[in-house]
Symmetry: C2
Subunit: 610 residues, 2 copies
């Protein structure tokens, strides 16, 4: 498969044969602007592509001869067929603020969490007998005292003398993390983990440049003990052994992923070069990672043991790293608004945006944040896992082969899949597109009832004829393939979708209502999560995932913003502080037991009229 | 043996049958005033003794009928013959500042290092779903955030709910150390250790009241690997295994001593009730305790790895305690001015005294601090271990049976021993007294030469006749006993004494000279260390341990001030801060290689003229 390297940051990922560059970039954590909806007409997603593919007519018009000659192409038009280098100008990124690009793709952090200082000290003498640590502090911290963890202190005298009192010192705040040979800045690394209920994702990061050196992901191995946080909480409350079991599954996975990334980036590396680890997870997952029982989060009134960010020695977290390394969890807001949401808000800059912004993370729980000129409100709804592909008969996450886009174009049903692989299931965005198509064509009514097998209502496009079939005794829509390879959307799938989108929409409406706002007041909607990387805005509204009245052009997909937030807090002290400020600033709105929410939810399960 | 309990503080120690109360109090860490030199004429050491012994004529005069009726007795006159309770008024303590009494014997610390707060919290509800840790912080820290070590966080939800959100919280700064059942303040303990090259001494202390609940001491088990810090440094530099061996000897001794003290004070106690441990040792001993090689302290230019106070988890220090417990070492000044001296300066309040004060710790190394109106200067001299009884043919530490006082009174040689036990050796103060006696009687000349065996110079008191004997072919003075039980002072012993006292005196003179001061400018001399508990001031000057010209009435013996300092930093945050300030304020004066010091030292080895 062709490989695409994005600069700045030298982040490399594999692309499907013929995959749209816009989608590859989003998967790489670089969401690009696309106000024209991917038509190639606005030129906002223009990036420098090398080798540059033949431009489309849309691109010729949008970018001009000069732009094309520079190698500019629209990411929404360019398809990847070979190994490609892509330079991403800041203007093309979804966020003007450079927030994502700074932390996620190679920007040096403004206030680095770990400073690496080259030093050259006078050697001790009877006239200048100051101890080694204070001598070093004078050289690297302007005389401010340094604290050395015991392991570092034990190594300090030899480390200074091996290189005649010259070297590189890694310092975190006032803590001396390491004394290394001169010119060792590029040996000072960190790791950021997105601790998802379903998926774990890690990035190995240079603490100095912020560059991502390698990534790794895998299914959360806790899955065998329960798909969702409630099941896992129930398991954890059985006893210490069960809690330990859940914890060990994640910590050992992180430890392995770190080893994989080090091996990928550096060959056969010293684990001792990793000095800092950040972890962004929802509140229950964060508790489990820390070995703190989440049992009281699972029952009314959903009380966490703690929501502040926690720091602990990496060794205590079960992650092998430098002896002075610490692990920090991102701060949470409440039992069902976790560090993943705080990280996402940080990465998306929600707290800094003017006007009314919705930040929505769609997963098993849907978290909805409403920001109004810096004031933050959040609620959580039980969306169910439909958008992650769970409980959908042929659902899957947005991984290779997942149908992520369904369009009726030129009389044909056009499917696209993640990575361009042959279709083997349907992910969240494909589910939305399919439901929208069915609603438009009359094969699905507002109550969520699929047309009978064989139904062909008036005006049905030819391409959709014959697709309503009997599937295990109930109506189903055949999306692709034939026989055993066919992929269907079933009546039950539609019900799951209704529950999921209804919950999110009801959360949005309730928050808006609490602030006397309506959908038309919303300036911007940021959709985060693993349900797909490129979502049709009109269809989001067509199925009612968002309340009608929201301007479709203000909907943006921000990808895995939680992971970006974890990277930002990893490398930047100011971002770490900001995450804590954001967590404490959010006003949590409890929907449980609110009759008005239940009424809104019931309404929102219906599909909106066209 | 009779037991003496001192109040406030309820500190109990054993006394020798007939031992002077003044000496017992000093051994208990409560040095009392005695400006009259123990004659019972000034009444400054008056304490309330119960049962009160028959008063001496001196006491009748000094204290009056009213005082005697209240149970007041002069500690320098009262001898202990049965179990006794003693109330020590603040005025009787050597220090007006209440510094020693505050920290060492029952005073509540002004700014406690560990606060124990009783709390009663509202239970969580949907209207008030704040997490457990923030709920507790609101109740005990006025809303300021608390940090919980992982072990405490894991226990927090259950600990709050077991007692319906009531309890006692132990808090150190912003760290939550424990959540205990209501009314558990007296379960919050700490331990202070004096880490001596020769002797380890520990105290189990209530973190709330400052009371000493139990004490323990033993020989430093590192002794088998070398008597002095140089030998041990040499052993440590051989390799990691040797360094680990030295470290483990001390940490496991501390761990055992803590267990002993807990058992003595509380029966069969939870180790989990110990939350803080402080350790005062010289710089080399502190390095060894931390497992940091002291090898560069042993050679020019004597560079420590670090001199600041170090904090580490108790588990990492090899001391079993509460999971949230930390160990802190007292800060050092330089390679040969350690945390024991800083602790002693803190306890003696040297930094707060007006005028010119000398603080002298006499041990294998002699440390001399000169304080002038708060400015602190210090030097270290290689005194050798004579005052601790080492390298003296029949020397011993000031333990039971050590001859600690020698006087010619009423024509007899009067000996006293520590604890009143039968004489089995001679300690530092006995050595000084004996040498002074020999100088006065003409049996020892100014060059340190003992008179020949059988010598009986003109005017020799009868009691000293026939005591110059042949001992292994050289002249020796028979101090007590006959035959195998005789205790002698040999020519070699005198040479060791000359080296030791000469080094200390030369250090004092050099520091004074550097500041253009003379002996007559000294307002106060504080003698600390394990060489005895009651020293004859005139004799200190007679043998030249201090330069002549110092007013004998300004010499005070402050006992184990280092241990008092360790207790003070244990229980008091402000004292912990002050120790660091003192350590940083001291100007270290390096005598190594200074020709003027060598000259002074050579002169000071002579005995002064009468």
């Amino acid at each position: 498969m062709p490989r695409v390297t994005f600069n700045p940051g030298a982040r490399t990922i594999e692309a499907g044969e013929g995959e749209l560059l816009l989608k590859v970039a989003a998967r790489a954590g670089l969401p690009l602007r696309s106000p024209c909806g991917g038509k190639g007409s606005c030129g906002k997603c223009a990036v420098v592509v090398c080798p540059a593919p033949e431009p489309t007519p849309h691109e010729r018009e949008a970018l001009g001869d000069e732009g094309l000659a520079l190698g500019l192409r629209c990411a929404c038009q360019a398809r990847i067929t070979e190994d490609t280098e892509v330079d991403v100008p800041t203007e093309a990124l979804l966020y003007d603020e450079r927030i994502l690009v700074d932390a996620a793709s190679g920007g040096r952090p403004a206030v680095p969490a770990v400073r690496v200082v080259e030093f050259e000290l006078a050697e001790p003498s009877l006239d200048d007998p100051v101890d080694d640590l204070r001598r070093l502090a004078a050289g690297v911290a302007g005389g401010a005292a340094l604290e050395a963890p015991l392991e570092v202190l034990r190594r300090l005298p030899a480390a200074l003398r091996e290189n005649s009192f010259r070297g590189s010192a890694a310092v975190e705040g006032r803590r001396l993390l390491a004394v290394l040979p001169p010119g060792s800045a590029d040996r000072v690394l960190g790791a950021a983990f997105d601790l998802g209920t379903t998926t774990l994702a890690g990035a190995l990061v240079s603490m100095v440049s912020g560059d991502v050196l390698a990534t790794s992901s895998r299914a959360n191995p806790q899955g065998v003990l329960g798909d969702d946080v409630i099941t896992r909480s129930d398991h954890a409350r059985k006893g210490q052994a069960e809690l330990d079991e859940l914890r060990a599954k994640v910590t050992s996975a992180f430890d392995e992923m770190l080893g994989e990334m080090l091996a990928a980036a550096l060959g056969d590396p010293e684990r001792g070069d990793v000095y800092r680890v950040s972890v962004a997870g929802n509140t229950v997952m964060t508790h489990l990672f820390l070995g703190v029982s989440p049992e009281h989060i699972a029952v009314v009134p959903f009380t966490p043991a703690a929501t502040g960010g926690v720091r602990l020695p990496a060794s205590e977290a079960g992650i092998r790293a430098s002896g002075s390394a610490s692990v920090m969890t991102l701060p949470c807001v409440a039992g069902y608004i976790g560090g993943d949401i705080v990280g996402g808000m940080l990465a998306a800059g929600v707290h800094e945006l003017h006007g009314v912004t919705l930040y929505i993370d769609i997963g098993t729980n849907g978290e909805v944040v409403l920001a109004r000129d810096g004031d933050l409100y959040a609620c959580s709804v039980a969306a169910g896992p439909a958008f992650e592909g769970a409980r959908i008969s042929q659902g899957m996450r947005a991984a290779a082969g997942a149908i992520d886009s369904v369009k009726l174009e030129g009389g044909d049903v056009l499917l696209s899949t993640v990575g361009g692989a042959s279709a083997c299931g349907i992910c969240g965005t494909g589910l939305i597109d399919t439901a929208a198509l069915l609603l438009e064509s009359g094969l699905l009514d507002l109550y969520g009832l699929l047309a009978e097998p064989g139904a062909e209502p008036d005006g049905l496009p030819d391409a959709l004829r014959g697709r309503m079939v009997d599937h295990d005794g109930k109506a189903a829509f055949r999306l692709s393939g034939e026989g055993d390879e066919a992929i269907h959307l079933t009546q039950k799938d539609v019900r799951e979708l209704q529950l999921a989108k209804g919950a999110v929409a009801a959360g949005v409406m309730t928050l808006l209502g609490d602030l006397d706002l309506g959908p038309a007041d919303v300036d911007s909607v940021l959709l985060a999560g693993g349900f797909g990387t490129f979502v049709d805005r009109e269809n989001v509204l067509r199925v009612g995932l968002l309340p009608s009245g929201i301007d479709p052009s203000c909907i943006h997909f921000v990808g895995n913003a939680a992971a970006a937030g974890a990277r930002m807090t990893l490398v930047s002290e100011s971002h770490e502080r900001r995450a804590e400020e954001i967590a404490r600033a959010v006003r949590y709105v409890e929907l449980s037991g609110r009759a008005d929410f239940q009424m809104t939810f019931a309404d929102a399960m219906l599909f909106p009229e066209a």
